[in-house]
Amino acid sequence: MERNNQLHRQVALMRQSLFDQGYLDEQFVQLEELQDDTNPNFVEEVVTLYYRDSARLVASIEQALDNRPLDFNRLDSYMHQFKGSSSSIGGRKVKAECSQFREYCRTGNGEGCIRTFQQVKREYATLRKKLEAYFQLARQAGPRDTASRST
């Protein structure tokens, strides 16, 4: 029990830090709120889905960035989708980088796009790692560990 409490506490802390550090935003909370007994792993499922689906988007963008000349419209369109997805899971930093990228697209700044995309990827990967760690810990702590948020 004690151990459990401790785990729970850890999970809570980890979670909090994700928010504090800006990796996650409010939307994540919404997801958490949707998770309940009938849907116990909802958040993790959504995140998994996100990473799976956005992988191809990332690949598309990468490929498009290799083309010359750069097709900004296309890039913007991909990024729009990517941004939408990312915002749905609450990926704040990723989302911010996406916005930046789109801004560069808008102004036709190829260099800026390429550079920003690297950052997008970085944030994307970082978030994934953090979330994975978080979920793992949450699983260890047992169900209802972070249940407090719903309240």
Binding site: Q27, Q30, V46, L49, D53, H80, G84
Partner: protein, 689 residues
């Protein structure tokens, strides 16, 4: 549990929502959010699938939430289509919060626009849109006091005498539904389709072609400005029809006309360009009117091509190569932008293949960028398969529009579609789509299609309203090519049967004197018509025909013709002498040009079944310039439709509706196109998808 049962007690719990988003992550989140609000959720990541589901059973859902950016179909298009066909509230979702997009959503008829990521709080309140809409509908339909607040507003008076004259269709609607403060889908007028609001069970009024025809003739008799629901009701003398029904229908009609007029002028240009080909594309003129259509159509979904008619027409105009578009092109003025849209859509439609004699004069429309419309139109031509029913492209799409055939309208399915006007209308080419709309400016040739087709497609569901009049091409007896009437029956979709001939109002087409060959459609229609018909998508095809009557004058001429044709809108016969006579019809039209009264209607439509009111379009065409605009819109519709070839029957429908409205509005004058039935509008060709 459905609200319809009057079981509003449970509402909003159990509200049935259809969620559409291509992004799986977002969709999943949305689904869960909605479920947690206790709604019943159905999801799909394809717009096409969504449309299909909706068409299968419109009553299965209360609300639709859709993403804006989707690969298979533009969210706005979907929006328009749904609004046109099913009159369901649609909420747009997007990660973009750009005011322009929001505005677009509004004009296309969205009842709300949410930004992603969506939050629970926002979703908790979406049920209000359903109630609101129902109330509006209820109000329209009957004066039941149920709608408490609505009633007040709509006022009995308000309902009735809404001066739709308002340039802003939306306003009208608004006035009518006072309770709808927000933009509520203006576009989605409360059609008479009364989706019976939950609160009270109003019998839904189906505006069949005949009914619409009557309505139009009543309105024409009274004069558009003076047309008040009460009088119209009296004139129509139809049992079971209430003033509210008429009022609501009138409003839509006005909007439609308005829209058409803008489009028509554009289209006229285009049509002129098209000249020979497909008068059906009269709709093209509607291109300009796209904007209007949007509003008209209620859901303006037609993003971009809001003019369904245009697109539609274009699309449909089978091969007539320019189905109207051609003509339209010439007019040049056709708003290129619209055309562009249209053409784009058209292209997609099926590329109406330019008729053998494509270039008919106006082929310019169809032709690659001819006067602006060109580019668009060109697409249209693409649509058209040289095959006889030129509408074929549309028809294909149309096939999808099969839903169109919904009997709802009462249109015998032959709606219209104008298309047909494949190629040269005269030559009897398959005029298939004579889309009457297009006719407006469409050169008499292939005009038909556009309008008609468009209408058909546009709103299958709308058929209730039967604006079809115009579009519904009465089933022309046979393929006589000459027959302009392209009965675009949606139901008929069988490509081979196009016999329905859409007698496209080829008359519209261009007034070009005698060129009214628009009729060739008949024959063509026969075969492809089948496709055309409903193919809601066809509309798109037809659109090409939309005669972009680029020049208003054309319209005027057409208008005159229309009047001439007004014979009775209902019977096509009068107008299109079943086969072969079309030429004479056209001829008449030419002479009628002085008639100008847009009353062209009638003959087209009813040829075989009252359903085809495609003539309406024509009639409207009479309105002259305004008609052109209508055509444009029609064309846009068509174009839009064409776009859908893939099966989206997208917006085209809406535009048709709009076209119709536009057309109808063309000039309140004379008889307002007696056939006002712009069934076009209702052509939800797309539904066929």
């Amino acid at each position: 549990m459905t609200v319809e049962d009057g079981g509003t007690d449970r509402f909003p719990a159990g509200m049935r929502v259809l969620a559409v988003d291509d992004d799986p992550t977002c969709l999943k989140v949305l689904e869960n959010l909605l479920r947690s609000c206790q709604y019943q959720v159905t999801t799909t990541n394809q717009a096409i699938m969504a449309l299909k589901m909706l068409r299968e059973n419109r009553d299965k859902f209360d609300l639709v939430i859709s993403d804006v950016n989707m690969p298979d179909m533009d969210g706005f298009k979907l929006l328009e289509l749904v609004g046109l066909e099913m009159d369901l509230p649609v909420i747009m979702l997007s990660a973009y919060g750009d005011p322009k997009l929001v505005m677009k959503g509004i004009t296309h008829g969205a009842c709300d626009y949410l930004l992603k990521p969506v939050r629970m709080e926002e979703l908790k309140n979406i049920w209000q849109h359903v109630i609101r809409r129902k109330k509006s509908n209820t109000k329209n339909q009957s004066q039941l006091p149920n709608q408490d607040k609505d009633n007040n507003e709509s006022g009995q008076g308000a309902l009735g005498a809404i001066t739709i004259a308002n340039p802003d269709g939306k306003l009208n609607k608004r006035r009518k539904d006072q309770n709808e403060e927000e933009e509520e889908e203006d576009g989605e007028e409360n059609e008479n389709e009364n989706e019976d609001p939950s609160s009270q069970k109003k019998p839904r009024v189906v505006w069949s072609v005949d009914l619409h025809r009557k309505f139009v003739s009543a309105v024409n008799q009274l004069g558009l400005e003076k047309a008040v629901p009460k009088k119209i009701l009296d004139l129509m003398d139809v049992e079971g029809l209430t003033r509210e029904n008429v009022a609501s229908h009138l409003q839509k009609y006005r909007l439609y006309l308005k829209r058409i007029s803008t489009v028509a002028s554009q289209q006229a240009n285009i049509v002129a360009a098209f000249g020979a080909k497909d008068p059906s594309y009269m709709r093209m003129t509607a291109l300009n009117g796209f904007g209007d259509f949007q509003t008209l159509a209620g859901s303006g979904r037609f993003s971009g091509t809001s003019l369904y008619p245009q697109g539609i027409m274009l699309g449909r105009l089978n091969s007539p190569a320019g189905l109207g578009l051609q003509g339209i092109v010439t007019s040049g003025p056709v708003q290129p932008s619209h055309l562009q849209n249209v053409s784009k859509s058209i292209n997609s439609l099926g590329k109406l293949q330019p008729n053998p004699s494509p270039a008919n004069q106006n082929t310019s429309l169809l032709q690659p960028n001819q006067s602006k419309p060109g580019p668009h139109i060109r697409d249209i031509t693409k649509f058209d398969n040289p095959t006889s029913l030129k509408i074929s492209p549309i028809t294909d799409n149309r096939a999808t529009a099969s839903t169109y055939s919904k009997p709802r309208h009462g249109i015998p399915s032959s709606h219209l579609f104008l298309q047909g006007n494949p190629q040269q209308t005269r030559s009897g080419d398959e005029f298939g789509i004579q889309s009457s709309f297009g006719a407006v400016s469409l050169q008499s040739e292939t005009l038909d299609v556009g309008a008609a087709g468009g209408c058909n497609f546009i709103d299958k569901s709308r058929c209730n309203e039967n604006w079809h009049g115009a579009v519904q091409l009465p089933q022309l007896p046979s393929a006589n090519p000459t027959q302009l009437t392209v009965p675009f029956n949606c139901s008929q979709v069988t490509p081979t049967n196009m016999t329905e001939k859409f007698t496209l109002p080829t008359t519209f087409i261009r007034n070009s004197p005698n060129d009214i060959s628009a009729s060739p459609v008949p024959s063509a229609l026969g075969d492809s018509r089948g496709d055309m018909q409903c193919q809601a998508g066809l509309l798109g095809n037809v659109v090409p025909n939309v005669n972009f009557t680029s020049s208003k004058s054309r319209w005027e001429d057409h208008n005159q013709n229309y009047q001439h044709f007004n014979h009775g809108f209902g019977t096509f016969d009068s107008v299109f002498p079943a086969n072969g006579d079309i030429n004479s019809l056209i001829h008449n039209m030419g002479s009628v040009s002085s008639v100008r009264s847009g009353s062209v209607d009638a003959p087209f439509a009813d040829q075989s079944n009252s359903a085809n009111a495609p003539l309406y379009q024509q009639a409207e065409v009479g309105k002259s310039a305004s008609m052109e605009a209508n055509i444009r819109s029609i064309e846009n519709y068509l174009l839009g439709q064409t776009k859908f070839q893939d099966g989206f029957m997208p917006n085209g429908f809406e535009s048709l509706d709009e076209l119709m409205d536009g057309m109808i509005k063309q000039e309140p004058n004379e008889a307002m196109l007696t056939n006002g039935d712009f069934s076009l509008g209702t052509y939800s060709v797309e539904s066929c998808m």
